[in-house]
């Protein structure tokens, strides 16, 4: 894997990319949101104070999903009625970019799926079939963008309100439609038990082992 490096156009700190496919990163020091262009890094924004995180996952957490090990390199934070949730961006050892979502300690691993004629609007209980798997709309969430950290596979910094549709299945297969972009994005994957990911480099919690 390439480890391209550059300097932050804002504060001059060294910026190391953990993944060659990263399009956006955040300077660890000055919290500038930086976009990679062909030539250099361009500052497009600034991360405000992030909400205090209650996730046991952090940038640098490593785990195993299926046959691949992965490491967490970034995240997007959303807020909704029930608090915050994190979409942790990870890359696998074969260079695939994926997402580990942690919504109040309910975990799911998903990967971007190609354009699939996504519905404009959904209702709870509606059924959709992608890749021969039937999914049922279980939750529609109005959320708003709360912040970013680390490396992301696309530009993501000027969002406000976003709608997410979560779909479950009769197996553990799980799908999310992200309406923050046009056309919307589909992510397919599965809900996972915390233990099954065999995570390392987790945060520790006071009073808990």
């Amino acid at each position: 894997m390439m480890q391209p490096t550059a300097n932050c156009p804002n504060c001059g700190a060294k910026i190391a990319f953990r993944w060659s496919g990263s399009v956006q990163t955040v300077c660890d020091f000055c919290k500038s949101i930086l976009i990679r262009t062909d030539l250099d890094l361009q500052k497009v924004g600034q991360v405000a104070d992030l909400p205090s995180s209650s996730s046991p996952i952090q940038i640098g957490t490593e785990g195993i999903f299926g046959k691949h090990s992965f490491s967490v390199i970034g995240r997007i934070i959303y807020a909704y009625d029930e608090g915050n949730w994190n979409e942790w961006h990870f890359v696998t050892n074969d260079g695939t970019s994926g997402w580990l979502s942690d919504a109040q300690l309910v975990y799911a691993v998903t990967f971007a799926a190609g354009a699939q004629n996504l519905p404009r609007e959904c209702k709870v209980g509606q059924q959709y079939t992608w890749n021969n798997q039937t999914y049922i709309v279980s939750t529609i969430t109005k959320a708003y963008y709360r912040g970013v950290e680390g490396e992301l596979p696309f530009e993501y910094w000027d969002k406000s309100d976003v709608e997410f549709v979560d779909l479950m299945s009769q197996t553990e297969k799980f799908a999310t439609i992200d309406y923050s972009d046009d056309p919307p994005l589909l992510f397919l994957g599965e809900t996972v038990e915390f233990e099954s990911l065999k995570l390392k480099n987790l945060r520790t919690f006071e009073g808990w082992l």
Binding site: G83, V106, V124, Q170, L209
Partner: protein, 453 residues
């Protein structure tokens, strides 16, 4: 360098805050995962996501009104994972004008997330959120999950009546949710729905004493009252056990019967044909030649074959041991009648009669026979056959019946348990309502307990 170095990955700490309602100090146990937190002193429902703990609701209740049996802050292991009790609520449903209440405990682990314990009248369930959707039948009376069939038990509107501590959702006193339960003891799958979200959860019946042990609680858990919707029937495992045992005994009995049958010599020791002149008058009794009964003490089978045709003969027998004088006295009648009437041909009785004399020791024996019949019926010819050591199937038949009694009893009691369970449901008996259904659910219990092994 404005923001002082890389993001600190410090250890989140248990928070301590003051309630904006009453100023009491509050412990925040879920590291920012809680959505609402309820002050234990003044019962203000607070927005846990707001740094200023905005008051969302206040409800009136004496703190002593409903103390949690497992105090907030208690820790215990459920299926190998350590959890802390962080929230507590009472929910109430109304069925036919009567209120029923149960309690829910919110359990928290900072990595594994949330889990719940519910308690109704001393019956406990360990509840977690489902990660896959159950397959609900078209009529909604059953659902399938992981190959197991659950039967709809009850649908009711549950109102939140009392809350304490932290919750990972927006909790309010007075809020109503429609809850449907589907049971397959010891499990229950529940659906809680609104038009925005449907949540499925699975519960497994737990004994109160196991919870008391896990959380190291003082005293005894409340004694369970009645039969709960997903309480495993103590009988259904017994049913399986008793039938297994019965089957084993039946096999044993059968092999015993076969063994005995092979061992019995079934030997004919005497056969002779006699004639009785009923017109003769005078003393008709006589004795036979001596024959030998060999081997161990065993039974003797005596068959009388008489040439009676619309006639009868009665024979007084005595089997006498020549050496000891011991006698076995018995009488046998052989009668056979037949003819025609308006209904066609008829017959009654038969020309043979067999009798078994049990436990006759070995020795030299003879028979004394005294025939009787109607006078002046002429000659009646009859033959007497004596067999030694004859297998007796009827004993085994009786043993089989005796064996089936406990199995039948336990099965009946189990059906009775199912009847009492379903009496509390939306149905008077399991959906479908027949005894056949109870038998079916029993068969399910059989199947699932078989799968456990």
């Amino acid at each position: 360098m404005s923001a002082g170095g890389p993001t600190p990955a410090g250890a989140p700490q248990v928070g301590s805050l003051n309630c904006p309602g009453c100023g009491a100090s509050m412990t925040v146990r879920s590291f920012g995962n809680a959505v609402t937190i309820v002050c234990e002193s003044c019962h203000s429902v607070l927005d846990a996501q707001d740094p200023k703990l905005r008051i969302l609701q206040q409800f009136h209740a004496a703190t002593s009104e409903d103390p949690p049996l497992i105090p907030l802050g208690s820790r215990g292991s459920i299926r190998g994972v350590l959890y802390e009790v962080i929230g507590f609520q009472r929910r109430t449903i109304e069925v036919e004008g009567i209120s029923y209440s149960w309690h829910e405990y919110v359990l928290f682990n900072p990595a594994k997330g949330f889990r719940y314990l519910t308690e109704y009248d001393g019956h406990w369930n360990d509840v977690s959120i489902l990660r896959a959707l159950p397959d609900v039948s078209a009529g909604g009376t059953t659902l399938k999950y992981l190959g197991e069939t659950y039967r709809h038990f009850q649908t009711a509107d549950a109102a939140t009546a009392y809350v304490l501590g932290e919750f990972p959702w927006q909790v309010r006193v007075g809020e109503i949710a429609r809850v449907s339960d589907f049971v397959s003891p010891p499990r229950v799958i529940s659906c809680e729905g609104s038009d925005k979200e449907v949540t499925w959860s699975i519960g497994e019946y737990l004994a109160g004493r196991d919870i008391w042990k896990a959380f190291k609680l003082q005293g005894d858990p409340p004694v369970p009252n009645g039969i709960y919707e997903n309480q495993p029937s103590p009988m259904s495992s017994n049913v399986k056990g008793v039938w297994t045992l019965t089957a084993m005994y039946l096999i044993l009995l059968l092999s015993l019967a076969v063994g005995v049958y092979l061992m019995e010599s079934d030997e004919q020791v005497f056969e002779q044909t006699f004639e009785f002149n009923s017109s003769g008058g005078g003393e008709a009794s006589f004795v036979t030649d001596v024959f030998q009964l060999k081997g161990r003490t065993s039974d003797v089978e005596l068959t009388t074959n008489a040439g009676v045709d619309n006639d009868w003969i009665y024979l007084n027998y005595a089997l006498i041991n020549q050496d000891t004088g011991n006698a076995y006295d018995f009488g046998r009648e052989v009668s056979y009648y037949h003819g025609y009437d308006s209904d066609g041909s008829w017959s009654e009785g038969k020309t043979t009669n067999t009798v078994t004399i049990p436990s006759v020791p070995a020795g030299n024996y003879y028979l004394r026979i005294e025939p009787e019949s109607d006078p002046n019926r002429g000659l009646i010819r009859y033959s007497v056959t004596v067999k030694r050591d004859v297998p007796q199937a009827s004993f085994f038949g009786l043993a089989v019946l005796a064996l089936l009694v406990p199995a039948g009893l336990v099965t009946w009691r189990s059906l009775n348990f199912e009847h009492l369970r379903w009496a509390e449901s939306d149905y008077a008996s399991p959906p479908g309502g027949s005894l056949l259904n109870s038998v079916e659910s029993l068969a399910d219990a059989f199947k699932s307990s078989g799968e456990d092994e």
